[in-house]
């Protein structure tokens, strides 16, 4: 009987944005690791993702999981020119901050800190929100990202002008657009198919 909700009555989800590592608890039954078909295993792309309840839940539709994962990897990890890794992760974190995905924001704010070595600035985005004043380049990235995250989309030529003024070329702006757009995909899955769980008790 797999078509039922999995409640987590004892979990107290984190109540603030954090760079700490979180867990994620599914509300629907993932495919058990031992029951994954070869197609489903292939769709995980990285074999280590078999440990993730999130990816084993998404493996119920392997075709879209595989294509999504490969889209994700090129947007964030193809570093031939374009936007520096740190700012792609900043875009992911800002999108997650705007939508309210505490789990996604924790992962990608952490990556933004690792790549930028500006952990305190990243933390200010989490603490103060998308209106934070960091520096003009990061402000421009956050403003463009959150304009793309609005529904209807509020992104316009003024955002592109501002990004050009802080040094982004067309490929970098395209990377930002893709990073923000992709996290509008990711946030909706993580927010609607399960809930975050603190791994420490002080959040």
């Amino acid at each position: 009987m797999t078509d039922q909700i999995i409640p987590h009555p004892d979990n107290i989800p984190p109540k603030a944005f954090t760079q700490d590592e979180l867990d994620w608890l599914p509300w629907l039954e993932p495919v058990a690791a031992d029951d994954l078909s070869e197609v489903q295993k292939t769709a995980l792309v990285d074999a280590a993702r078999i440990k993730s309840a999130y990816f084993r839940l998404l493996a119920r539709d392997p075709a879209i999981l595989e294509a999504r994962t490969l889209t994700d990897k090129d947007i964030f990890y193809n570093t031939k020119g374009g936007l520096p890794r740190a700012e792609r992760e900043l875009a992911a974190a800002a999108t997650s901050r705007r939508n309210g995905c505490i789990y996604c924001a924790s992962v990608h704010s952490g990556f933004a800190s690792v790549h930028s070595k500006r952990r305190d600035d990243v933390q200010r985005l989490l603490d103060e929100g998308i209106g934070v004043d960091i520096d003009e380049r990061w402000n421009a990235v956050i403003a463009a990202t959150t304009a793309l995250t609005a529904t209807p989309v509020a992104f316009g030529p003024e955002h592109i002008s501002r990004l050009r003024e802080v040094g982004l070329d067309d490929l970098a702006i395209s990377d930002l657009i893709h990073g923000a757009a992709f996290f509008n995909w990711a946030n909706r899955l993580m927010l609607s198919l399960g809930e975050p769980q603190a791994t420490s008790s002080d959040i």
């Binding site: 998404l58 609005a150 509008n184």
Partner: protein
């Protein structure tokens, strides 16, 4: 005379007005895997090998509703044309529900604590009675769920998934329709972002 199958055009470039060899076409070509796999994602959801868990008629009804909620005419026309081919009897009901569902996001409630001051109230969309009659139980529940995903995903609760199960959706079907709504949230932003960049592109052609 043999006719080669017509390849499905790259939907993001099509809807963003980007042609191969244009400055933005070159920008997209610099991320070939992202471009190809975004297109494969579209195909996985809208030209699936086995559309069992979610029918094509349901997929295009949902896509037309979601595209309409985002208010981009080119995207709405693209999915609306496909709904006309797979479920034309639903078109009027879907158009009516778009009108009822339009709002601005993201809104939603945060848990008590320091984020509570950022909670923003917004509508809880429900399909109209006439809409329910035309759409049926499954699509009615799915429309209400994807409206949540489009505009206020942080309000999602397990009870929302329970409502889908109660309307006859399987776990597999919920994963697919969640991916469909979430993917369109990506695709529509990629289209609008790249179209805006293309129009204001200063890059010399090379």
């Amino acid at each position: 005379m043999t006719t080669l199958p017509t390849p499905t055009p790259d939907v993001i470039s099509l809807l963003a007005g980007i042609s191969t060899g244009s400055p933005l076409g070159d920008v997209r070509a610099a991320r070939p895997q992202a471009r190809e796999q975004a297109q494969r994602s579209f195909a996985a959801l809208f030209e699936p090998a086995s559309p069992d868990a979610v029918t094509l008629r349901e997929r295009y009804a949902l896509a037309t509703f979601i595209a309409g909620l985002h208010g981009d005419p080119a995207v709405a026309a693209f999915y609306g044309a496909r709904l006309a081919a797979h479920g034309s009897d639903l078109a009027d009901a879907v158009a009516g529900e778009i009108g009822r569902g339009l709002t601005e996001g993201p809104y939603g409630t945060y848990p008590e604590g320091r984020l509570a001051t950022e909670s923003v109230a917004g509508p809880r969309y429900q399909v109209s009675e006439e809409g329910q009659t035309t759409l049926g139980h499954r699509l009615t529940a799915a429309f209400e769920h994807v409206h949540l995903l489009v505009f206020h995903p942080r309000d999602a609760k397990p009870e929302a998934l329970a409502a889908l199960l109660a309307a006859g959706w399987t776990t597999d079907g919920i994963v697919t329709l969640s991916q469909l709504a979430a993917f369109l949230s990506f695709q529509i932003r990629a289209v609008i972002g790249l179209r805006t960049l293309s129009i204001s592109s200063h890059s010399p052609r090379h």
